[in-house]
């Protein structure tokens, strides 16, 4: 159903799937052609995916484990870790609640403008992260709509933590909703209606009927949402002001160190984020295998609708 369901299906059915083609003369590629395709695709994979990943860890450890530890234990790095965790801890739950509410309204009811609403929820994925930062500067910056009001009340949004949190919420806005809407639409509303007939109240229906049905999709959306929240660079960069120890998230700290030519330290901090990415990919595969998603392609427009999840940088 999403990009990752492809992963799981290849894992559970991949070998069998490959032999489906490899075992028959009509679909078996000649050995020379197979070798050529395999070699060029793996060369591309190595050059563009594997080597950059290896390079992060190699560069991080270039000056040894002591320097690696020192870069991570640095007070500015630790405060960047704290701010990154804080932004994610606010953005992810908010977008989770929003995602569940949006999916409930869209999947369980019909109302005019539903299609438009669904499209608008996707909108943040097609906005360049730099533009995301810019819109909040225009609203909350010194010259912005609320700029003078904020200044009068001694409040700071831009070049401060609230701006970073807002930008993070924007770029991770659709993740949970995009995951839950098709899932809850596919499940229909018969089970919930039965619960209501049997006398369950609204929240009881949600906790005991809906939630068990959507928990894996929910977890999947949260994992993707969290990865993006912790890794966002462009949008956060515009609104942060890059104040060390105050408004630096981990990706921004990587940038500062790198621009100061502290390459080993920059890559040390970057390796933390690379580990986060690897954990995210591992969790995605795990959730996929647990949730037993339908084989990709069998569900409606399955293959690519959710690729929007990652459309914006």
């Amino acid at each position: 159903m999403t990009s990752l369901s492809v992963v799981s299906s290849s894992i559970t059915q991949g070998e069998q799937g490959a032999s489906r083609f490899d075992g028959r003369p009509a679909t078996r590629d000649p050995a020379a052609l197979k070798g050529l395709i395999l070699a060029s695709s793996m060369a591309f994979f190595a050059m563009f995916l594997l080597l950059p990943l290896v390079a992060v860890f190699a560069e991080a450890l270039r000056k040894g484990w002591a320097a690696y530890g020192a870069a991570l234990w640095d007070p500015d790095a630790l405060s960047a870790v704290r701010l990154t965790l804080l932004a994610a801890a606010i953005a992810v739950p908010l977008n989770l609640v929003f995602g569940v509410a949006a999916a409930w309204a869209i999947a369980k009811f019909t109302f005019p403008g539903k299609q438009l609403l669904t499209t608008l929820i996707d909108l943040p994925f097609s906005v360049s992260p730099v533009v995301v930062g810019l819109i909040y500067v225009l609203v909350f910056g010194v010259q912005g709509w609320f700029g003078s009001w904020l200044a009068e009340h001694d409040l700071k949004v831009i070049f401060a933590v609230p701006g970073i949190v807002l930008a993070t919420i924007f770029v991770t806005f659709p993740f949970v909703a995009r995951e839950l809407i098709p899932l809850m639409q596919a499940q229909g509303k018969e089970e919930e209606e039965a619960a209501v007939v049997l006398g369950a109240r609204g929240w009881q229906v949600f906790w005991h009927v809906t939630l068990p049905n959507i928990k894996w999709g929910l977890l999947y959306g949260v994992i993707l949402c969290n990865a993006r929240a912790m890794g966002e660079f462009g949008a956060v960069s515009v609104v942060s002001g890059h104040i060390r120890g105050l408004t630096n998230t981990l990706p921004l700290h990587v940038e500062i160190l790198y621009n100061e030519y502290q390459f080993a330290a920059a890559f040390a901090v970057a390796s933390l984020l690379a580990l986060l990415a690897l954990v995210t990919l591992g969790l995605k595969v795990w959730v996929e295998s647990r949730s037993g998603r339908p084989k990709p392609g069998n569900s409606q427009s399955a293959s690519n609708s959710n690729l929007f999840e990652a459309i914006s940088p």
């Binding site: 009509a26 695709s41 994979f45 995916l49 509410a101 309204a105 009811f109 109302f111 909040y136 392609g297």
Partner: protein, 270 residues
């Protein structure tokens, strides 16, 4: 008869307006204050035009490269058995999961003149990092998953019998691919291409480290917005943002249409 419609729809619309719609409208309000002549002047300055050429040109080429290699990767993952296949399949999504700043410095380290790959390319007179080629490399990286993940499920669903029928009717492998397999893949390939292109045009984090950011040579359009902001030229930054927003909205509509075509086509093929 289910409860909660008013509450959930209210929360959804309120939150959407608060976080997305109202702030986005600020861009158009600010740009309107610029007046038509001011707007045109801002979005057609030579440095800005040079950035469009690079951003759109490099994004198109990157999406084309991703279409070719994405198809090869999807083909490899669906049709062949080889050691490490699961790992390769899982790592295809790395560009979705790896923060762009990390990707940016890693690619720069690899392709810089003293890097693992840059060292091999330098004797050939090819300088990748700190120039337009570096922009291309970064955009190829972030676009990898799109074509693979759109084409892969279609390839998996392909009926073996189709190819057997073609073979039994005397078609060569090449003919079967051109006339039987490729037509089914075209909508998915185009969708993947458009998604990779859309993503590449807006990309910032992975590009700025490797681009070198030389005015008129290797500045991308999102960087022009940042540059204007740093000069406190908010109106100028906003004007460029409007161009980018309108472009991505149009692309969003095209992608929606392509996806509808894709599911219609695969529905028919089955």
């Amino acid at each position: 008869m289910l409860p909660g419609f008013g509450l959930t729809l209210g929360v959804t619309v309120f939150y959407l307006a608060l976080i997305v719609l109202v702030p986005l409208s600020a861009v158009f309000a600010k740009a309107a204050g610029l007046g038509w002549d001011g707007f045109v002047a801002a979005v057609t300055a030579p440095r800005v035009v040079a950035s469009y050429k690079l951003s759109f040109g490099a994004s198109l080429i990157a999406a084309a490269i991703n279409s070719v290699f994405g198809l090869l990767l999807a083909w490899t993952l669906v049709r062949y058995r080889f050691p490490g296949k699961r790992l390769v399949d899982a790592l295809i999504d790395l560009p979705f999961a790896l923060p762009t700043a990390v990707a940016g410095i890693a690619l720069t380290a690899l392709y810089a003149p003293n890097g693992w790959l840059g060292r091999l390319l330098e004797p050939l007179g090819v300088q990748v990092a700190f120039g337009p080629l570096g922009v291309l490399v970064a955009l190829v990286f972030i676009g990898v998953p799109f074509v693979v993940r759109t084409v892969q499920p279609i390839l998996e669903d392909l009926e073996v019998e189709l190819e057997e029928a073609a073979a039994s009717l005397g078609a060569s492998r090449g003919q079967t691919f051109r006339h039987v397999i490729l037509p089914v893949l075209v909508p998915a390939l185009l969708t993947g291409f458009a998604l990779a292109f859309a993503r590449a045009v807006g990309e910032y984090g992975s590009v700025i480290f490797i681009a070198g950011n030389i005015p008129l040579v290797s500045e991308i359009t999102p960087l022009m917005i940042i540059t204007k902001l740093e000069q406190f030229d908010y109106a100028g930054a906003t004007a460029i943002a409007v161009v980018m927003l309108v472009f991505s909205f149009v692309l969003l509509l095209i992608i929606n249409a392509l996806q509808a075509w894709s599911s219609w086509q695969t529905g028919r093929a089955r």
